[in-house]
């Protein structure tokens, strides 16, 4: 840990001489090098994005790059890329733990270390962290790391995404810290170890070579900086980079009222049965400039692969605090300086091997973030942030084409993208990565050109957004038709309750759900030449429910009176040509009292079909006349009726 504790002179108050004494360079140089580090990781990521081979890297941006200082500084992680924060948050620890276990003194110029063990390094086994020591005058000055999702890492499910794997032996190959490259040559035994255990190696190998080349790019750019500014200035800039968010987080914590804040969230079930729910509990004690975030009371680890590891939970904690308290400075290891996380081993968010399998780690990490959002809502007041769609409801399909070529979908046909929650700044977007991802959405054209899949629908669902003065994002509905026989894992693990929690008087978004529509004996889209209806409950009678609170008769979504359908009832779905999976995400949470939303903003929502005319009256107290389908520009606000309706609501104490 860099030595800048509470009570040290803030950076802005340092004289030029004091600044130089602390950071081995002047302010200008520290700023230039700090920006240079961000440029380096972004350049590496952009280059990987452009040259990756597998869909999960090329179309999903499922990777992150970081820069960390050397062991004698305890590996401060100064810089993370603008991509998958669930990766980068854990990478401070992945780098430290891998290098320390392997032995920093054993590393030589030209080496690349790798590790994928979730318990040592966070995330899941497909996410290999490749670490390059960058030397200057025979000493390691910096570590540059690239963690990237590999399309497969063995285990019982092609591509790995499943909520029903029971232990570490089913999740896939675990790689302890070991060399991938030595003296800039691939270590044959390491590559054989992976390729003798993993599928789709024809894609893995070029991806890994591309990752290696981007580590070299990062190394070259860093060495240019050493030459120009000197190593002392570089190391000073690493300290400067982590001290800035450490200071700003401390100031943000100090501004909160002292006190104890509690929150929780529930995961529906694991993959064994639906008899157990899993609760994430958090108690946050704030005193002065410090926070203690205690997860005691959190449920024991799940029996299948929906657990997160300790470093995923640490990341979720840091990201939640950045969202709520200190969103304007960079996220790096300095954000945690005034935060202690108390985390019992063996919970759903701190799983242990071998019986606490970690694969869908975000399904436990996102509830950690939401529990912290709920806990701190009374403290941050109008700065509260509504919950997002939460669960990825991840879908993973595979099969072979008629010529025998294997295909696999990875997070392209489920509920992987969806809405955010509203904030004081405005309505939420309805389509993006979840709060701890900053990924791309695979293009429909890429999916349809490379896989035997037709994307039939990808659209918003009316009246699903959490209402509020600022509205949450709407649920996303996606219909995917599979053209060949196929097998699927489907993991919507958060449909009992909406993840999209409303805040500051806003309401929750609507729950999500998942169905399979068989073509044979059901709804054959290709034969009917028509899409499966969305809002007509009768359309769901011919479906097979996968997950959600559904009417047991019609099988349509019924949040209030429906029964829970458990996602694990069928660990591996088998489908025939033209069968359709439908995923609906949770809606995003609203912010503020919906009855105070300006009527013209409600009119626009009706015009854009986020809100129906009925819901406008019921949920916002705004009376709209006209027909949004046939004459959307002819919609109008009935001012008198709206005033009467809102007066009625005010008298009832609702507005």
């Amino acid at each position: 840990m860099t030595d800048l504790g509470v009570g040290k002179t803030p950076i802005k108050e340092l004289t030029d001489a004091e600044f130089e004494a602390r950071y081995n360079c002047d302010r200008y140089t520290a700023t230039v090098l700090s920006n240079r580090m961000r440029y380096i990781v972004e350049h590496m990521c952009t280059n990987l994005l452009h040259h990756a081979f597998s869909l999960i890297l090329r179309d999903w941006y499922d990777f992150a790059a970081t820069i960390s200082g050397p062991s004698n500084m305890n590996y401060p992680m100064s810089t993370v890329s603008n991509s998958l924060v669930l990766f980068s948050g854990a990478m401070e620890h992945a780098v430290r733990n891998a290098v320390e276990e392997y032995g920093p003194d054993k590393l030589k110029p030209g080496d690349v270390l790798m590790v994928n063990d979730p318990y040592r390094a966070g995330n899941h086994v497909n996410d290999i962290c490749f670490i390059r020591p960058v030397f200057h005058d025979d000493k390691i000055v910096t570590f540059v790391a690239l963690r990237a999702h590999q399309l497969d890492m063995g285990g019982i499910v092609p591509a790995g995404f499943s909520a029903t794997k029971r232990d570490v032996y089913e999740t896939g190959l675990v790689i302890p810290p070991m060399l991938a490259y030595e003296n800039d040559q691939p270590v044959q035994s390491s590559f054989h170890l992976i390729f003798n255990n993993a599928r789709y190696c024809a894609l893995l190998l070029p991806d890994m070579i591309t990752i290696y080349q981007n580590l070299l790019l990062g190394e070259r750019l860093m060495k240019e900086s050493f030459e120009r500014y000197g190593v002392d200035a570089w190391l000073g800039a690493i300290n400067y980079s982590v001290d800035v968010p450490a200071e700003s987080m401390a100031a943000a914590i100090k501004a909160l009222p002292d006190g104890v804040y509690r929150g929780s969230d529930l995961v529906d079930a694991d993959g064994i049965d639906d008899t157990l729910e899993y609760e994430i509990k958090v108690e946050i004690t704030k005193k002065g400039e410090r926070l203690e975030v205690d997860f005691s009371g959190t449920s024991q680890q799940a029996r299948t692969s929906i657990n997160a590891g300790v470093f995923d939970t640490l990341t979720a904690t840091g990201v939640a605090l950045k969202y709520l308290l200190d969103p304007k400075t960079a996220f790096n290891s300095g954000a945690y300086r005034n935060v202690d996380v108390v985390l019992p081993a063996g919970t759903i968010c701190s799983a242990t091997p071998p019986d606490g399998p970690v694969f869908l780690y975000w399904e436990a990490a996102q509830p950690v973030l939401l529990a912290i959002f709920k806990a701190l809502e009374p403290a941050v007041k109008e700065n509260a942030v509504g919950g997002d769609y939460g669960s990825l409801s991840i879908h993973n399909g595979h099969g072979v084409t008629p010529d025998g070529t294997p295909w696999v979908t990875v997070a392209q046909c489920g509920g992987e993208h969806g809405p955010w929650g509203a904030t004081k700044s405005g309505d939420a977007d309805s389509y993006g990565g979840f709060y701890m991802a900053n990924n791309l959405d695979p293009a429909t054209e890429a999916i349809e050109s490379e896989l035997p899949i037709v994307v039939l629908r990808k659209e918003y669902v009316p009246d699903t957004a959490g209402t509020g003065y600022n509205r949450g994002g709407a649920s996303v509905l996606r219909d995917s038709m599979f053209l060949t026989d196929a097998h699927h894992t489907s993991s919507p693990v958060h449909t009992k309750r909406s993840s999209g929690a409303g805040v500051y008087g806003g309401k929750d978004g609507r729950n999500g759900a998942t169905w399979l529509f068989p073509a044979e004996g059901g709804f054959d889209v290709s034969q009917r030449q028509d899409l499966i209806p969305v809002l007509d409950p009768e359309a769901y009678r011919q479906s097979t429910p996968v997950s959600g609170m559904l009417d047991p008769e019609t099988k349509a979504l019924d949040v209030e009176k429906g029964e829970y359908f458990w996602f694990g009832a069928n660990p591996l779905w088998h489908t025939k040509p033209n069968d359709v999976f439908r995923y609906v995400t949770c809606g995003g949470g609203g912010w503020g009292n919906p009855y105070t939303r300006e009527a013209d903003r409600v009119l626009r929502d009706v015009r854009d079909e986020y809100v129906s005319i009925e819901a406008a009256a019921r949920d916002f107290g705004v009376i709209i006349t006209g027909d949004p389908q046939k004459d959307p520009e002819g919609l109008a606000i009935d001012e008198a009726a709206t005033e009467a309706r809102r007066a009625e609501l005010r008298n009832a104490g609702m507005a």
Partner: protein
């Protein structure tokens, strides 16, 4: 399903008592607080795992030492001596 689901049992971090002798040996100025105000337990923060001693009333950390890399997490290979 006949009965509703139950919530899986929770786990907690044990906060150990600290004696006056221990505090004295560590050179900790208790500023008038009694030893019973202090607890020892692991935390995860910037830089990894630590064992801290904190005054539970003020939440002031009076002692902080590095713990093992993985803290309370035990690998399946821990304890395996490979010659």
């Amino acid at each position: 399903m006949t009965d509703g689901p139950t919530v899986a049992p929770g786990l907690s971090v044990e906060r150990e008592d600290v004696t006056e002798d221990e505090l004295r040996e560590l050179g900790i100025d208790t500023s008038g607080a009694s030893a019973s105000d202090f607890k020892r337990y692991p935390v995860l923060s910037e830089g990894g795992w630590y064992i801290v001693i904190k005054n539970q009333k003020t939440m002031e950390t009076v002692h902080r030492t590095k713990w093992t890399l993985l803290g309370p997490i035990k690998l399946v290979t821990d304890g395996l001596h490979i010659a």
